[in-house]
């Protein structure tokens, strides 16, 4: 287990270094001058030059990279060009919105998806299964911003139960703040739940066809017990993989929902920073997200060990980055299915 951990940590560190080079290079290639953007049409070329010097944009490329990357090592992400405050402060302001939102959405999505998956798998091919999976297909297909607008019109404009958008801040009281995250969380959770439900269903069906299930049934265990105790636990591995991917997506890939609900989240900060060529903000957040995704993947890997006792029993046996005892094909298939359904739903937007 220690060797496995060490290997994963080294890989993670290398990934971070590589990511920092790629992120920095891509931002360099991006056309546009942040100084001109800040000063506008009436500023003279001399003024733009003065500001470029002030922002340190005229220094050689390699020096600028080293300066930036060196700062990252001491967790100094630099100062935003446009806001002229430390990048980390901007991130801190946004993460208190994005993180709870992602967690609530993830929790909702899981709470909805698992029972749906179990229900459908246990009634495979019957009317209940067709109905639920049809609904899930609809959930994947409906663009989430449209769904969000319908929620707003119903709950905010008509019933006036929650605000139509915006975020009052946690200082306004936990319930008030949570209320403004409720609709966005539902809008985010439903398509994710639909995807997760389908993954859970097919994973369960696959497990239900395994020999040990037949054995469990043969020794006289009731179907319900086999389903929840034996089958579901083994089907959790692909589900956890998808959850990890979804969490990374929910953390910053929610620009559309953040726009519809005008929430001050991370996604909008990145989007705004890109249009304003606030490169240092973009670079800093992307690096944080890369780190977050690596961390989540590590956690997901470790969680395999929790659901699969075989991994705890045989420490140190690791092949190809996956804990031993898990068929990687099962995970890969689940990931592929997840991407297909997600791409299909995105293609419609």
């Amino acid at each position: 287990m220690t060797a496995y951990l060490l290997k994963r940590i080294i890989i993670a560190a290398l990934t971070l270094v590589l990511a920092s080079i790629v992120v920095f290079a891509v931002m360099e290639i991006l056309p546009g001058d942040p100084a001109r953007l800040m000063l506008g049409l009436n500023a003279s070329a001399d003024q733009v030059e003065v500001l470029r010097n002030q922002m340190g944009l005229n220094a050689p490329l390699v020096l600028r990279y080293l300066h930036w990357a060196g700062g990252l090592l001491s967790l100094d992400f630099g100062r935003s060009y446009t806001y002229s405050v430390p990048v980390i402060d901007l991130v801190r302001e946004r993460i208190v919105v994005s993180l709870p939102l992602a967690l609530i959405a993830l929790a909702l999505s899981t709470i909805i998806a698992i029972p749906i998956g179990v229900f459908s798998a246990s009634r495979q091919g019957r009317a209940g299964d067709t109905l639920v999976m049809g609904a899930a297909q609809l959930g994947v297909a409906v663009p989430n911003f449209w769904f969000a607008l319908m929620l707003i019109y119903l709950f905010a404009v008509w019933l006036r139960l929650v605000p139509a958008g915006g975020f009052p801040g946690w200082s306004a009281g936990i319930w008030t703040a949570l209320k403004s995250l409720l609709l966005p969380a539902v809008a985010l959770a439903l398509p994710q739940a639909a995807i997760l439900g389908r993954v859970a269903r097919s994973a369960l069906i696959e497990v239900l066809n395994e020999d040990y299930i037949r054995t469990a049934r043969a020794k006289g265990l009731p179907y319900r017990a086999v389903l929840w105790r034996h089958a579901l636990r083994n089907a959790m591995i692909p589900v956890l993989t998808i959850l990890g991917l979804q969490f990374a997506f929910l953390l910053a890939g929610t620009i559309i929902i953040e726009n519809v609900f005008y929430l001050p989240g991370l996604g909008r900060l990145i989007f705004q920073a890109i249009t304003q060529r606030d490169l240092i903000v973009v670079e800093g957040i992307v690096m944080l997200l890369v780190a977050a995704v690596i961390l989540i993947n590590l956690l997901v890997d470790f969680s395999y060990a929790i659901v699969d006792p075989r991994l705890r029993a045989i420490p140190g046996k690791v092949r190809s980055g996956f804990p031993s005892g898990i068929a990687p094909k099962q995970i890969l298939r689940a990931v592929q299915r997840f991407r297909e359904t997600r791409n299909r739903s995105r293609g419609r937007q």
């Binding site: 991006l30 056309p31 546009g32 001058d33 942040p34 001109r36 953007l37 800040m38 000063l39 506008g40 049409l41 009436n42 500023a43 003279s44 070329a45 003024q47 003065v50 500001l51 446009t82 806001y83 002229s84 405050v85 901007l90 302001e93 946004r94 911003f145 607008l149 707003i152 019109y153 905010a156 404009v157 006036r160 605000p163 139509a164 958008g165 915006g166 975020f167 801040g169 726009n259 519809v260 609900f261 005008y262 929430l263 001050p264 989240g265 909008r268 900060l269 705004q272 249009t275 304003q276 060529r277």
Partner: protein, 493 residues
């Protein structure tokens, strides 16, 4: 008896509660589309900075009102020397900055000197280019000397970038703006909202509102439900044009269509062949049907223009008839240029609806005369570097929102690449002319030269679509400068 007393007390109480509920509201939440990058109008060009701070937080020597007229600001009066070169401003007394420090002539001197300094990053530095000296005569008197008479000087001093700041707080204004206005910053939740509160120590007429929140609503689709649910009570300029009819028919809202200083034009690279030929530019002007462009690009709300001048401003000349929509005539112009078989060109469109929608209409209109346009969508940052700075473009659509900016056609190196000595002379003369009638005459002349010479095809004036709660009064109808001046805004009943 006791029971009656209780009932009476309860009735009194509920009456008191009811009357206090009827007292007019004193808070307002406005929607704005773009968040200001910071709150210092002397350090950034983003229009959103002025939208929030102008007249509310910061004030200049003079101020521009809803109709573009110059009013007194921090200066209660002024005198101009006979040669038009020296302005003596008499300042209001008892004025305090939001941090409690007193405002005086020294602050005016500091602000103007800072804006015109060599290393100044003021986005409108050209406003101060003619100032040669600023002297604080006494705490309430400032003398500003110019290198020559300046016709627009008083108006220049009322612009967003010319507001007066204090030396002690100037460098912190981006985050903590310290002005002299009737509102001061309460807090700014970045990405979410900016809250201003009434300044209790304001020197002039106090604001009717106690609190004003500018909430950032970037998505047009979100703007309508935000209004309908009552979360937001006003949009000075509403992004959702498709929903306008719905809002117009709703008695709860006032929809007020006003004008802006945004001349929306098809900019032409005048040095790039074949656009260096007058006949080619005339062909473009004749082939474009403004009404179709306006219908597509601004829901039919924009006012057609024939030159680079706002129809709302004094001195406007209607020149929309110079090149009427006429395909046959356009083809003749092309023939005259030796291009009867047409040609191909590119049009770079920034990410604003008026440009993207208008560009498609113009593309199809120019096809009728054999001019094939390839549309290249660009981001603002790309537009600024490719089109504006490097002049790497054929055609583009953009709205020039700076007020009184007809002189941009005479600026050397400006992205139009237009150089007309006759026009330059008119602008030069205009700069030093103070007499009002003579100025209007020169402005008319400048407009006519542009209309006939077509350095750009003039499309329409960008409308300001104000939508607010019908009980709200005092919002600006026009954007003579891009500002949401809340000093006279109040709730009725």
């Amino acid at each position: 008896m006791k029971l009656w007393k209780t009932i009476l007390a309860a009735a009194m109480l509920s009456l008191a509660a009811a009357t206090s509920a009827f007292a007019a509201r004193t808070d307002l939440t406005l929607g704005i589309v773009l968040e200001p990058p910071h709150l210092d109008p002397t350090a950034g060009a983003a229009a959103a900075i002025g939208e929030v701070t102008y007249a509310n937080v910061f004030e200049g020597l003079t101020r521009i009102d809803d109709n573009g007229q110059v009013q007194s600001g921090l200066a209660e009066s002024w005198a101009v020397s006979d040669d038009g070169k020296v302005y003596t401003f008499k300042l209001h007394s008892g004025v305090k900055f939001h941090d409690g420090s007193a405002f005086s002539a020294d602050d005016v001197k500091f602000s103007l000197d800072r804006a015109r300094a060599k290393d100044s990053l003021n986005p409108q530095k050209q406003l101060f280019a003619h100032i040669t000296d600023v002297t604080a005569v006494d705490p309430a008197t400032v003398k500003v000397s110019l290198d020559g008479p300046q016709g627009s000087f008083l108006s220049d001093m009322g612009q967003v970038a010319a507001v007066i700041v204090a030396k002690a707080s100037a460098n912190g204004n981006k985050d903590k703006p310290i002005g002299t206005g009737p509102f001061k910053l309460d807090h700014w939740a970045k990405g979410s909202e900016i809250t201003l509160v009434k300044n209790p120590d304001y020197w002039g007429t106090p604001a009717a509102l106690d609190k004003a929140t500018f909430r950032i609503v970037p998505d047009a689709a979100a703007a309508v439900p935000a209004l309908l649910s009552g979360d937001i009570q006003a949009f000075a300029n509403m992004p959702a044009q498709d929903a306008l009819e719905q809002l117009q028919s709703d008695p709860r809202f006032s929809v007020v269509i006003g004008s802006t200083e945004g001349e929306t034009i098809l900019s032409i690279n005048n040095k790039k062949p074949p656009f260096d030929k007058l006949a080619v530019r005339q062909a473009l002007a004749s082939a474009i049907d403004r009404s179709a462009v306006i219908a597509a690009a601004s829901n039919g709300l924009g006012k057609p223009i024939g030159s680079h001048f706002s129809p709302g401003d004094a001195g406007y000349v209607d020149l929309t008839g110079v090149y009427p929509h006429d395909i046959a005539k356009a083809k003749e112009y092309l023939k005259e240029a030796g291009l009867e078989n047409g040609f191909s060109a590119t049009i770079k469109l920034p990410p604003v609806p008026y440009a993207r929608d208008g560009g498609q209409v113009i593309q199809s209109q120019l096809k009728d005369i054999g001019v094939n346009l390839q549309i290249i969508p660009v981001e603002w940052a790309e537009w600024l570097s490719q089109v504006f700075t490097n002049k790497d473009y054929d055609l583009t659509i953009v709205s020039h929102v700076e007020p009184n900016d007809i002189d941009i056609y005479s600026r050397p190196g400006y992205y139009f690449q237009y150089d007309n000595p006759k026009f330059n002379d008119v602008i030069k003369e205009l700069g030093t002319t103070v007499d009002k009638d003579k100025r209007l005459e020169l402005l008319g002349e400048a407009q006519k030269i542009l209309a006939h010479d077509v350095p750009a095809v003039y499309l329409f004036e960008l409308p300001k679509i104000g939508v607010w709660d019908a009980k709200l009064q005092g919002m600006w109808t026009n954007w003579s400068i891009e500002a949401d001046d809340l000093t006279k805004v109040k709730w009725t009943d």
